[in-house]
Symmetry: D2
Subunit: 134 residues, 4 copies
């Protein structure tokens, strides 16, 4: 469940036909893309969009991901991706996510991703100042 | 590391341009698709392709996934997806994966996925006989 | 350019990181997905979402697609997909699209797709009454 | 039909589950990705992989694409993508494609893509010498 003691960002997406598979439900790989949209929205709401992170010469790469699939989503369904920072480190950030059905609030998928900051040479680096302490 | 006491299936894939992202590397969501290809190959090598599983009226849905991203892959690189069964249950199967650079053998990504068997009505069901005891 | 003598539907999307490729721009295959979202929005605005089309036992399959790529789009850019019906036939529909940069109005991509209606047995069929004369 | 008076490159792919959609068939956007794999294979067979094109400081961007969808493909089906150069220009290349069912030889999808060469600054440029006259 999203924490109440820190910033939590939500974004609503509508499932696209191309995101479904032959089971008639959203292909599970798309949830990593929805998590990424959750991070993008979180950064925008903090006022430092991820594009500014890359513009500053850094990349935030994914080192770990965990997903629990509780209930499938289908074409045209609206889902809400809620994102928060679980842990902020000097060289990385851990995000957590909860995806719910926008109408009913039912939980569909939960997960975490861990990231490290690298510079253009590919070296692990400190998170740029503007992103520290998230 | 792949176990030596059971069947292990390997398949080699070449990274497609469409699988890269603006970081110049494979977008991390694609590894869930490569794991899926690993499972498909495993089932084919066991002689019971996943299409026969669905033809029998069942779906094997993903309930959990874990991924560790160790080293990025790039366009045209050849990767080998090695897949094995970690645990076989009456109503589900747990798979594990190791993705390596085909040339050097270096480990790129490792992971696990957990699955349950459902029937056409969406009810959790026993794994069909031909897939049991994997 | 969108016509002025008929219904035209617009939807705004924000480019996702996963939609970019190693060139740093949106991979061209995604525009077929954006066109599809344009059709979905068009059908919703007409009051007959595509999900109701399938619920009625029909599929609207793509038989032809043409795309002209004029200017690339990048991560976080907002694009507007404008969609209209070019030709309505008894057994099919032709759609046309214009994708612009939401802020500047600059044209990024234009295209057409042709579709036929098939029933569950895979036979070409008349467009269901509620979709006729679009 | 592939021409007989010039180089024609073929590659065989197996349809991935993630490439299907709720219609139970390959989502049409994937054929642009298969065409791209066709081009990649063509370039490899000519001895100048596309990665060497980018390494030389150029990008081959898509300016137009046309697709005709004749017959759907399904999960695990093997398809053969046959690719040839339709027209070689000083600043661009036009490719044509035919995708067939590998077993039966039946035509599934045909298409063309047009490309121009740009340099790192984004300016239209001559095709590098090694790619000229294809």
């Amino acid at each position: 469940m999203p924490p109440t003691d820190r910033i939590v960002a939500s974004i609503t997406l509508r499932i696209r036909y191309a995101e479904t598979d032959a089971m008639g439900i959203v292909h599970h790989s798309n949830y990593l893309r929805f998590f990424e949209e959750g991070r993008s929205e979180y950064a925008r709401q903090r006022g430092q969009p991820y594009s500014s992170f890359e513009a500053a010469g850094y990349f935030l790469v994914v080192t770990e991901a965990t997903l629990r699939f509780i209930k499938p989503a289908r074409y045209e369904q609206q889902i809400t991706v809620t994102t928060w920072v679980e842990k902020s480190r000097s060289r990385g950030i851990d995000f957590a996510y909860e995806i719910t059905d926008t109408d009913s609030g039912e939980i569909l998928v939960t997960g975490q991703t861990k990231h490290i900051s690298i510079d253009k040479s590919g070296q692990v680096s400190h998170i740029p100042a503007m992103w520290q302490g998230w």
